[in-house]
């Protein structure tokens, strides 16, 4: 760094007492200070206190003195209602990116309070810890710095949380008014697979729903499903116009590998932009994991087809049973004139348990293989007593499928407790309701077998120990607690990785140690400029809606790349 590049300004993040003090001291030393806070006002937690000492005066007087000093200091620039977006560079010369949210009230305000009298929206007053209400136009505490009032108008929590940011409040409002088709249009603006998501989305939006803090969150997922079902019924009755014929593509050819949610979304978006899209799918059905791994009782096949039809209708060519590999390589795709390639191959390779006896006996079958077999039509009963190992959705699905195939006893073995189980809570409840028996805090030790067939499994009980580096409590085996469960089928469902065996030896792609593609998170571009990747192939096993979000990002990344060419 050149000495002349050395900056004499400081960014202080957080305008509580520590931030304010640091800013004041630096400013007094003659430095330029930017004092940033997420809240529209400054003061932090100390401003909320009654007093700071048993025999002191009101803390608002004490922090008030700091407010005063800050507001009078020529070297301090307040940037409130703002979020830090990036810090780059190095000591002496950092570059800072900040997004300052709109206040919507300007310096002209003289605190007459007229707006406050008429505002009909009453959010909780967070400065008073929700013990009172305030107005949507408000002064948040008494610092009055830098401005008196502001209007909080940010995205609702549900929309903020949704990985694809559907305008949930709007479509729920439309449903409340009986405008179901309009509601579905709002959903389709951000989500090309609404029928699927109406049934199997893990709906993080509901977790953030403010109504949930009152009693129960809005059933956002079920409302989405209702809107889709409503349209589906009308269409089946022939009451809606036919889908229009696809437009002719006007832009370059793009190849997509994998017709899962990420690939379908990417194709959908790019086709809408005018690109010529071909999706290459190894299996004989579209939908990827949605079709292969999610059982029909959760997601009927015609529902998948319904969403896929809309995408086909945009002119997307979905070639089923067309694997990319030795026969048809990525280079072949390039040669065919595809200017960009999106890899949405999912994560289909089951991880090993790493216990003795694994793979030795018949009756030991990986969950993905098991679910695929059933979902592609083989509804034969695998055995009488089934153990599923794992705590994710695939584990629960495998168990419930086994019950439906007529297995007598189905167990799930999970090494942590119910609270840590990653599967959707409602799925676990249903599974138990249907008769699946779950052993929490238990892990496999050894697969037992006789005459080449599985006969059972030796397990150990676990206890939760200290937090590990990831902040989760690590399960530890309890010595001497071993027990045996008899079984003739064992289904490990512990996790999956992308299966990258289709790549040629000199593919040149950067691959992580989990066999996933390494990408730039903003554009989804891999280290090869014309190859993009997203969904489980990048993140490892995750959710539908995250794959859709990745598809969106990749489509805009590819579009930007091709336009820049």
């Amino acid at each position: 760094m050149n000495p002349q590049d050395k900056q004499s300004a400081v960014l202080v993040v957080g305008a509580g007492v520590a931030g304010m003090q640091a800013a004041l001291d630096l400013a007094d030393m003659g430095m330029k200070v930017y004092l940033l806070d997420r809240a529209p006002v400054i003061g932090g937690a100390v401003a909320q206190l009654e007093r700071t000492l048993p025999e002191g005066q009101s803390s608002s007087c004490e922090v008030g003195a700091m407010f005063d000093a800050i507001s009078h200091h020529p070297n301090i620039e307040l940037i409130t209602n703002a979020d830090l977006q990036g810090i780059s560079g190095e000591q002496g010369s950092f570059e800072i990116a900040i997004k300052k949210r709109a206040f919507r009230v300007t310096e002209k305000c003289d605190d007459c309070g007229a707006c406050y009298q008429v505002c009909p929206v009453k959010p909780y007053n967070t400065f008073n810890e929700g013990l009172t209400l305030r107005c949507a136009i408000d002064h948040q505490n008494y610092s009055f710095l830098p401005l008196i009032y502001n209007i909080e108008k940010e995205t609702p929590a549900c929309q903020e949380t949704c990985p694809v940011h559907i305008d949930i409040r709007r479509y729920v409002g439309l449903i409340a008014e009986g405008k179901f088709l309009e509601a579905l249009q709002v959903i389709r603006e951000r989500n090309p697979l609404p029928s699927i998501c109406g049934r199997v989305c893990h709906h993080p939006c509901e977790g953030m729903c403010n109504r949930g803090q009152q009693d129960e969150p809005i059933a956002i997922e079920k409302l989405k499903r209702f809107a889709v079902d409503y349209e589906m019924n009308l269409r089946r009755q022939g009451l809606l116009p036919k889908l229009s014929a696809p437009k002719k593509p006007t832009k370059e050819k793009v190849a997509i590998v994998g017709a899962g949610p990420a690939g379908l979304t990417c194709g959908h978006d790019l086709a809408k932009l005018g690109y010529e899209i071909t999706i290459f799918e190894k299996e004989s059905v579209p939908g990827g994991m949605l079709y292969l791994c999610i059982p029909e009782y959760r997601l009927p096949r015609d529902v998948i087809e319904y969403d896929v039809a809309f995408i086909r209708d945009l002119g997307v060519d979905i070639r089923l049973g067309t694997p990319i590999g030795k026969e048809l390589t990525l280079d072949d795709l390039r040669k065919q004139g595809h200017k960009a390639i999106f890899l949405g191959i999912g994560a289909h390779k089951g991880l090993k348990l790493r216990v003795p006896g694994e793979d030795e006996f018949e009756g030991f079958i990986d969950c993905i293989e098991f679910l695929k077999r059933v979902n592609l039509g083989d509804k034969s009963k695998p055995g009488k007593r089934v153990i599923v190992i794992g705590g994710g959705n695939s584990a629960v699905d495998s168990a419930r499928v086994a019950l439906r195939l007529g297995c007598d006893e189905v167990y799930i073995l999970y090494r942590r407790s119910r609270k840590e189980m990653p599967a959707n809570e409602w799925e676990v409840e249903e599974a138990e309701h249907e008769g699946v028996q779950i052993h929490y805090l238990a892990a496999p030790v050894k697969i037992l077998g006789k005459n080449g067939r599985v006969t059972g499994m030796e397990c150990t009980k676990m206890k939760l120990g200290k937090l590990d580096a990831s902040g989760r409590r690590r399960p530890i085996p309890i010595k001497g607690s071993e027990f045996t469960i008899e079984a003739d089928v064992i289904i490990p469902a512990i996790s999956q990785q992308p299966d990258i065996s289709f790549l040629s030896e000199v593919h040149g792609l950067e691959i992580s140690r989990w066999d996933s593609f390494v990408i730039d998170e903003r554009t989804m571009q891999t280290n090869l400029p014309d190859v993009y990747a997203g969904g489980d192939a990048v993140t490892g096993p995750a959710t539908v809606i995250e794959a859709i979000a990745a598809g969106h990002r990749a489509a805009s990344g590819i579009d930007r790349y091709l336009r820049a060419r």
Partner: protein, 806 residues
Amino acid sequence: MKKRKFITEFPDIPSKRPPEPSLPLEDRKGNFKEVELGYSEEQAIAEARRCLSCRRCIGCGLCLAECPLEAIVYDQKDEAIKLKVGSVILAPGFDEFDANLQEQFGYSQYPNVITSIELERILSPNGPYGGLLLRPSDGEIPKRIAFIQCVGSREEFIGANFCSSVCCNHMIKQTISAHQKVPDILTSVFFRDIRPLGKGYEDYYLQLMDQPEVKFINSIPKVVKEEPSTRNLVVEWEKGSEKESEEFDLVVLSVGLWAPQGSRRLGRLAGIQLNKYNFCHTTPFSPLTSSKPGIFVAGAFSSPKDISQSLAQASGAASKSASILGDKRELPKAAPRGEKEIKASNKENRIGVFICPYIGVSGEEKKGEGWLEYARSLSGVLGAEVLQFPCWSVGREEIKKTIQEKGLNWVVVVGCQPSISLPIFQRSVEEAGLSRQRLIMESAFKGAAEDEEIKRAIAKAVERAGEATEEPVSEKIVPVGLVIGGGISGLTAALDMAANGFQVHLVEKGSQLGGGLLSSYYTLEGEDVQEKVKSLVEEVERNERIRIYTEATVQKIEGREGNFLTELTHKGSPVKIEHGVCIIATGAEEYEPREYLYGEQSRVMTQKELEGMLAKGEPLKGKVAMIQCVGSRNEEHPYCSRFCCGEALKNALKIKEAHPESEVYILHKDIRVYGFEEDFFTDTVDKGVHFLRHQGDLKVVNSKGLQVEFTEAVNGERVTLSVDNIVLSTGVVPPQSNKALADMIGVDLDKDGFFKEVHPKFRPLELSREGFFVCGLAHSPQTISEAISQGSGAAGRACRILVKAL
């Protein structure tokens, strides 16, 4: 949005979701029919109508229509800002623990279970009930309050095995406040250990212990239940093996301090390392630096801490940060004067009296007619006013207006703490055209004042207004610092000032730099103390801007802030030093025990002596008893020495490491380890060290070998332990020489003999004589990292003055 409580609205909307039809259980076997069957039209509409629209602006336009100044701009856009800076200080603070995660306490199920922060708001004059202590369910005045400590702290199973450090202080302060507001209120405190962090709080704790209305119960309740008819709460807990319960009107959960929401994102953006609880990772010897050069940290983001520690760190981070910046400085100009300066000197006294309405008993707003009448009757007083919020801009505009309208030449403010608010009133009178010496501020109270005290304060201030003379302000600033004391905080302060470009004189009375840490070998976290101190001393010795005087004592200090002249005796000969500021870092001494057979029995030793042995590879074996609070928390030294619990854990772990079969007993009143030191506490418990709480009647006898006798605190049993060795966890005591130094400077010591700061929370490092600062053990008992933070902090505060010379 975090809260949701007790404000029922939208009664016309059905409260629960309509149940969704599903496939009956018996129909599910042998087929793959869809299980969930979806909503009907009616159900969907009913469900959608439950949406609250989230209480965010709906853009209705009503405010826009009302606003006479057209100040509202609905479609104002977000703004992207790019900045270039040389350094970054992260001070995003903390988030209070979400009490819903500990369901057993009934938070958000029962309206009268509140968090400690909610109680703060309730007690505040500008809070939801105007400062009256009322309970949320019915607005009744509670007569019985329970505090439950450690909610969201020291709980491994919720992922928070750290002590939030401030909640005990919070509870102590709130109990005192509650008693001021409702004098006959009964308080029960459920606790694990009482940990009153920081200066003075041990005294408040002792005061509470003496009050019959306050009960301390050493147990964390199992569950809180509500009595539905009265909405009172029944708290159930275990005492030993017995179950007990009691009814309360209000239950306060002392919620912990967690890493701020978004800290992971912040960590990622800044490229800094976080610890497992998502706080910023720092090390004991670099408490202000993140893992990335140029990014500093202050306040609760690096670990839960109180206001004074946060501010010390903030000043320290400012000093560190400034030292790596470019040298383009723009010093703030003197406050702008009013257009025509009022020539005030020769006229008769025209005094205006301004009184804060919140200084009366219990902090409630007072109209204060009696005070005003009294003030107006005093000679020279032209007018008197009670000002709503005098220290806020609204109130100060009023003061300025009155000065100009009435032609005042003296302004008297009777309010709370001149140490905090004096500068803001000075600014106001200067803006109105008066010299700052024409402002007299008088504090009326300690906590809350009776009418008579307020009148006395008014009279005193008015009298002073007539008498004060204007002193000429010295303009000369000598850009040199003097640091007295060469321990860890003094070394840090010297290095920091030097790094900011100033000459420093470092005076040490001993022959060697390093202070108390010279006899320390490792920290609880496992760092090599000797190595760290050695490299710090070397750095100081190498630094060209630092002049070291060992075997030197200060004889005399004259002058004023910015321009002092100090006389030293350095190795017998006199030296004179000119300097602009002075930092007192004289440290403290280890308590020399006279109790527990120390000095009579070689098998009774101090933790320091044990540490020395351990460092030489001579660990103790067999049965070891460690006795806490030797020379602390007793009548002679009522304060807590802060670090001895950590020392005991550290050495107990070392003993267990070397000889796992040895038995270590830690005999204590409370285990006081703060912040992330808690992890070491649980570690020590896991390793099988025994912790026994006693009732303060501990005795050591030597008959048939060493024996410790005491009464166990929980069940009151008399215990006799036969042990092979006894280790005394001795505290620190302020040196006798503090008194002479304080007298020479003309500042006060606190009642325990440490240097007394201007304001214990908001100006923790300044002494009452301007230009003097204090840090380290001279200030109060503290840990290494706290002493380093204070050393940097004092340097930061001092540099503010020295830069004026540039």
